[in-house]
Symmetry: C2
Subunit: 214 residues, 2 copies
DNA sequence: ATATATCCGGAACAAGGTTCCGTTTGCAAG
DNA sequence: CTTGCAAACGGAACCTTGTTCCGGATATAT
């Protein structure tokens, strides 16, 4: 009659580090299965939502359920791992875009990438609001990974004079997330348009501020 | 592999009317059991959250699970019925308070009543964000019942010169709900304080506007 | 080549939602 | 006051899904 959180030794999900350290030895087959599971879970979550049965994910990954629970002691651990994985991918996209495009363009492209991530995650909001403490650390992780990524892009674009310089990355992430929330109604297309508008607002601000100040 | 919503004849949950019409005959024992179920569900949801087992509710109501499902074909129908029931109670409190107190006082008291309703409903947010279409109609019902109730109070208080007159009831409901959301951290006590502040803001506005205009 | 710690698969268990059906009962007509 | 029966009741049984367990397979160090 209450909470049970023995939580022996969860290797992922507790640390706030971007990725796992190679603790001792991870057998090659284990690593392969973990990757397959993350990939399968990502696909299944995208189509059936995060409440898809564990068996379905296991089957899609070509492993038994026992293997799932060996690496992800709780169903929520798998969900968290997938979310963190996607956040990492989104954050990692920032330097790549920065290397391939003009600063302002890189910023705009990354924001769209971010919107796509949010809209694709049906059930993210539900998980966050579910009250399940397993998801408590997710928001912090989001900020920790995404804010620096966006900040770098913002600073580069501001230095190039392409956007205004007084924007808090955290504010922008929050605003874009609000606009993109699936619960808000309006499909992914609308979300992309609204966020594009937001980014254009940053650009407009640059010229306005330049005019006003000089 | 998809949605199944045959939905034969759900008597509650589809109509937007405050309460059920007496369709044909409702046997006395049935009415009694429905009431007992709503009461039991309200109590159980308050203590164990909305994901409490149906069996537990049935037992607390002193009926078999078959009886639960006879009146509430899906578990979510019971949840929706309880929510609507509490919304009705909250809305009905408005005229009662208005009859017993000064207009400004009635408004303040009702807002507290509303906050208590929001904070008590652990899992309301989760349900709303769950993506389950069964809950889609809830927000509309909330507005339909609560807005007129609050509007009456606001108009009375404004007519008495106790609060400013330019407040949209919908805005106020939304703001108070945001402040009271359990997910916001801070207990019910904080929520009450913050909303009291909000109401005081309305009062301040009354004198300010009076000064400025005359 | 061998030992062994680790990993794998899937049957088995537990819990909760939902269905089914034999029995009981409110109630209105006679 | 009977009687007939549609409606309602209860709870066992069923299905789905999360989680545990353990005998067998296997990667890897020696």
């Amino acid at each position: 009659m209450g909470e049970k959180t023995p939580n022996g030794k969860t290797d992922q999900g507790d640390s706030l580090e971007p990725r796992d350290r190679a603790d001792r030895h991870v057998r090659a087959d284990a690593r392969r299965n973990i990757d397959a599971l993350l990939r399968a879970a990502m696909a299944v979550f995208a189509t059936s939502g995060v409440e898809a049965p564990v068996r379905e994910i296991a089957e899609k990954a070509g492993v038994g359920v026992g293997t799932v629970y060996r690496h992800f002691p709780q169903r929520s651990d798998l969900i968290v791992a997938v979310f963190r994985n996607e956040v990492d991918a989104c954050a990692d996209a920032a330097p790549i875009l920065a290397g391939k495009h003009e600063p302002g363009e890189a910023l705009a492209l990354w924001m769209q990438r971010y919107v796509d991530f949010i809209t694709a995650k049906r059930g993210l909001a539900a998980a966050l609001y579910s009250g399940n403490p397993a998801f408590d650390t997710l928001p912090a992780y989001f900020n920790q990974r995404l804010r620096p990524a966006l900040q770098t892009l913002l600073e580069a674009a501001a230095a190039a004079g392409e956007v205004r310089a007084d924007i808090e990355p955290g504010d922008l992430l929050g605003a874009a997330a609000s606009l993109a929330m699936p619960a808000h109604g309006g499909g992914p297309a609308q979300a992309r348009r609204m966020v594009a508008l937001l980014v254009d607002g940053l650009r407009y601000g640059a010229s306005t501020l330049a005019d006003t100040r000089s």
